[in-house]
Symmetry: C2
Subunit: 206 residues, 2 copies
């Protein structure tokens, strides 16, 4: 948490006012702590320590820990769900729609990595977590539908069922969260090309 605390203004020369801590910044800290300790394992004491705020200052921004979780999950879910309504995801050959979805998935991951990590760790013990899991299921169902369309159109192989194919290919795409560092690695667009190319054509030389 140290850089975050530093950025929150605690390294300012004494006497200067601490900058106003906004909700965005609190959310960044909370999402990181949730991912490190698990949501259930995070207390307001942990959030206060990590943000450098008092508990009462935290309550000035939010009403409950669950509200922070919801705001964090929305940052991943909103662009993810929005990607399923984009023109490139809803019109044209199914295989192109599928490629578009994988590409958007990777762009969203690169753009909102901590929020996507949080989303992919959700278990479902609270209303908010159950809501997030429902949204993820809706997303997965949409993707499986596109795979089914592609099988019907004869562009995706029919020997593996649509749901397994959808799970495996987004499993590959989502696994990028475990090693991708936006500052170190290839740009999202290049990585998306590599994932799409592996997914479509496999690794074998023909």
């Amino acid at each position: 948490m140290s850089e975050q605390v530093a950025r929150s203004g605690r390294t300012l020369p004494s006497g200067e006012a601490r900058p106003i801590y906004n909700l965005d910044r609190l959310l960044d800290v909370a999402v990181r702590v949730f991912t490190e300790r698990g949501y259930d394992g995070t207390s307001f004491t942990h959030l206060a320590q990590a943000s450098g705020l008092s508990k009462s200052s935290i309550f000035h921004h939010i009403e409950s820990k669950e509200q922070l979780l919801r705001l964090g999950l929305e940052r991943a879910l909103e662009p993810l769900m929005a990607s399923t309504t984009e023109e490139a995801a809803t019109t044209g050959p199914a295989i192109d729609r599928l490629t578009h979805l994988v590409r958007r998935n990777l762009e969203i991951m690169a753009d909102r990595l901590p929020y996507v990590k949080l989303l992919l760790n959700v278990h479902g013990n609270t209303d908010t977590e159950r809501w997030a899991l429902e949204q993820r299921r809706a997303y997965d169902k949409f993707v499986a539908g596109v795979v089914e369309d592609a099988i019907t159109e004869g562009t995706v192989r029919a020997d593996i069922d649509a749901r397994t194919t959808a799970r495996l290919l987004f499993g590959m795409s989502n696994s990028v969260r475990e090693w991708y560092r936006p500052e170190q690695h290839t740009k999202p667009a290049q990585l998306a090309d590599q994932v799409c190319s592996l997914v479509l054509d496999g690794i074998r030389v023909r």
Copy 2:
């Protein structure tokens, strides 16, 4: 935890002695709690609640929480590291060795799912976690070496670097942990066929 507690003998008619709680069973419970709450977020109170044992009974079996973590991680790491020394992983065409490694990875996951989940969530805050991460890195390096061999042998495409290919294909394989239920789904061997086939040839119809 309820089935676990039931299996620990707490549903026996009163008066009957509680069966001896062995280390294996304690380990099963601990690994589940570590995965649910995070290792850092798990206290001996949580372990006592989940196992139905007193803290002193737990200390009869183990010396520290970290020892439980190490035993749990070994259950995933031992077969995984052993798979890299098997004949099918060390001799023959590299593409066959690679297929063998993916296949064994999925078999180990199906056989030891909770332990593999624990391993794949390790962060590296303790000596034991750092040790596990080192083992994982050694495994990843071995796999990337086999991908490199296959590129040299001209059987795996050279347009994506070996490390990225290795990461993505094991990312797909490891993602199975998120939805695979040994009691519900296809047998590990069938699933391994599907993953290997997707990885080698992609999803596109030619």
